[in-house]
């Protein structure tokens, strides 16, 4: 590969890391099409590089988010139990489920969620409520420092069983289709559990690295993680995610939603197109 290509991949990856760290998703939606369409990289190696990109986004941003109390570690670990178990089930079910219809279903769910998200665009913080006995028992409540308000904003997770079930579903889908499920994670925390958008995004960021690491071993063993492609991706994404993590605390929850919504729409359309057999 030429130095020009390396610089191109690096630049695109900085963008992927930046957007991914703000929206709580891996950079796959940017990295995979850019590598295959712009730089002619084989799809297999592009997917391998995208797994690296997800982990780099997650680890690059999470160091700052954890320190800044943006990430809710208990919510993250509790839901990770659902996602990782779901992912294992999904990986075991691969042979039984036709992926085409699943992509269509997922695409429709994501686009439907985009409509819900756009209705919530004006909302800065979810309405405050009291904690359910389950949320209290599991300590799924906390506070994050909001630089915009200049104070700590406290929150309580609602509809915990629904959130857990959605996360398990997100895990099954990611195991079945071999895709990250950052968007589904943000939707479950924001939509079902009604956590503040910044907490949802930062906690999703924390979680996607763990989920991706579970499948990274498989890709690594198959030789799908090619250093010549993955090196500029990893370096670019790490740089972008580090920048993103510095920006997020200063954004309002509305701004984060404004970054997340177009990402959600693009993922929904890409997934739908893939299910219908159109595009890469």
């Amino acid at each position: 590969m030429t130095v020009g290509t390396d610089i191109g991949i690096f630049t695109i990856s900085v963008l992927a890391g930046l957007i991914g760290s703000l929206a709580g998703v891996g950079g796959g939606i940017i990295v995979i099409p850019a590598l295959t369409l712009l730089f002619g990289v084989d799809i297999r190696l592009a997917i391998g590089a995208s797994i690296v990109s997800v982990i780099a986004t997650s680890s690059g941003a999470a160091a700052a988010y954890v320190r800044d109390r943006m990430t809710d570690m208990r919510v993250g670990m509790f839901l990770e139990l659902a996602t990782t178990s779901g992912a294992v089930c999904g990986a075991l079910l691969v042979a039984l489920v036709p992926p085409g219809s699943l992509y269509v279903l997922l695409g429709v769910v994501l686009l439907f969620s985009a409509v819900q998200q756009s209705l919530r665009l004006g909302e800065e913080l979810p309405p405050t409520t009291s904690a359910s006995p389950l949320a209290t028992r599991l300590r799924l409540a906390g506070a994050y420092p909001d630089a915009r308000f200049g104070r700590d904003v406290s929150y309580v997770a609602q509809r915990v069983p629904l959130g857990f079930a959605l996360m398990a579903g997100a895990g099954v889908v990611s195991g079945l289709l071999g895709i990250g499920s950052g968007a589904l994670k943000v939707l479950a925390m924001d939509g079902a559990m009604r956590l503040p958008m910044k907490v949802s995004s930062a906690t999703s960021n924390f979680m996607i690295g763990v989920t991706a690491a579970a499948s990274a071993g498989i890709y690594l063993g198959r030789g799908d993680v090619d250093v010549t492609v993955a090196a500029p991706v990893a370096l670019g994404v790490l740089a972008g995610a580090t920048i993103g993590a510095r920006i997020l605390p200063h954004l309002s929850n509305r701004h984060v939603r404004l970054v997340f919504l177009p990402v959600l729409i693009v993922i929904g359309l890409q997934t739908l197109a893939r299910g219908l057999g159109i595009g890469p």
């Binding site: 320190r67 690295g209 991706a212 990893a234 790490l238």
Partner: protein, 119 residues
């Protein structure tokens, strides 16, 4: 352990993992510009095919091949989330939170199962 020290520990694991990985990948990348990915910074003869197993990577590292240095960096990157979960177990345990120590141990068990058992 206070929640702040807990966060500091997890954050430190992440920073060390990310910095080590970025350093190795950057070193491999810089080396590739000088001698090519398959070359050797010690001037050994280039090898035709890259090896993705540990023995191949070890031999490549000994010869300071950029490809092996880069692969080691990517391996550290992939291991970082796993180490972060392991560090969280220790942190929850020290904090005396038995419920979350158990939950996090279960997450690590599922994670290791998926890494080493399912193919």
């Amino acid at each position: 352990m206070t929640p702040d020290r807990f966060r500091a520990l997890v954050s430190t694991v992440l920073i060390v993992g990310v910095a080590t990985s970025a350093g190795l990948v950057a070193l491999g990348f810089a080396g590739s510009l000088v001698v090519g990915w398959e070359g050797s910074l010690l001037g050994r003869a280039p090898v035709g095919e890259s090896t993705t197993d540990f023995a191949g990577m070890g031999a490549g590292l000994a010869a300071l091949r950029p490809i092996a240095i880069g692969q080691a960096g990517l391996l550290v990157l992939i291991a970082t989330p796993v180490l972060r979960v392991a560090a969280s177990i220790a942190a929850f345990a020290v904090e005396g939170d038995r419920l979350y120590t158990a939950i996090t141990m279960a997450v690590l068990a599922v994670l290791l199962t998926s890494l080493f058992v399912i193919r």
